[in-house]
Symmetry: C2
Subunit: 111 residues, 2 copies
DNA sequence: ACAAGCGTAACACAGTCAGTTGCGATACTC
DNA sequence: GAGTATCGCAACTGACTGTGTTACGCTTGT
């Protein structure tokens, strides 16, 4: 069980920033936070069953993202380009998630 | 042969912005710009042999990029995490480029 | 009651990017 | 040679974003 302040000190930032990020992981069910005296943060599940993909998805990063096609755009070339690129990006994102899914928190910790 | 002003009007932006972007494609050898009266922009090669990967690389996007590992960081877990993630991202980026390489400008144009 | 912790809102600050203006250099036309 | 159209580039602005910070309320254990 670690407090926001401890984590913040360790990574060189501010407790509020830590709570902002970890809060999203809590919403996703990856972490549990406890309030009050002796509160703090801990993993919601065993580190062996949390993958980097879980974290990536929880943070909703979508590094590889295609914005919506800006409907009603008159240029057919622009449309065609967007379709193709969007397809490729989606495919790439799935590949990324698949790769991230192969590494667990425990794997990283044991290196 | 199109001028920056024509292209800018078409995509709804400013000629200078167009020149900024297309200038990078020119540096990469994908486009040729001609100065003076009746100048403008044209493809440096046939659209059949320019791929989306060429454009992606020319623009140096690196959508999927891992910053340098911030050398000399004391936390071994952080190090291990960075190594693994960087590897996955690099692999993903290569896959993206490979996919982009399968589509040429001509392909997009003919849709 | 008090202290320690999270949750959240509000604000400041720096960085980034599109947009804009201005000006010089180049090349074509007359 | 004068005029005009174009690119090349630098400088400035404004919007947006992300981090950091402060402040305050709520929860929990001693």
């Amino acid at each position: 069980m670690l407090t926001s302040a401890e984590i913040a000190t360790h990574v060189g930032t501010n407790p509020v920033v830590v709570r902002r990020v970890l809060g999203r992981l809590r919403e996703a069910g990856l972490l549990i936070s406890e309030k009050g005296h002796a509160g703090g943060w801990r993993l919601a599940r065993s580190p062996e069953v949390i993958t980097l993909a879980d974290v990536y998805i929880a943070l909703d990063e979508s590094i590889v993202a295609a914005g919506s096609p800006d409907h009603n755009l008159s240029c057919s070339v622009e449309n065609a380009l967007h379709s193709r690129v969007a397809g490729i990006l989606q495919q790439t994102e799935m590949a990324l998630i698949e790769q991230l899914g192969k590494t667990t928190i425990a794997d990283v910790h044991d290196d």
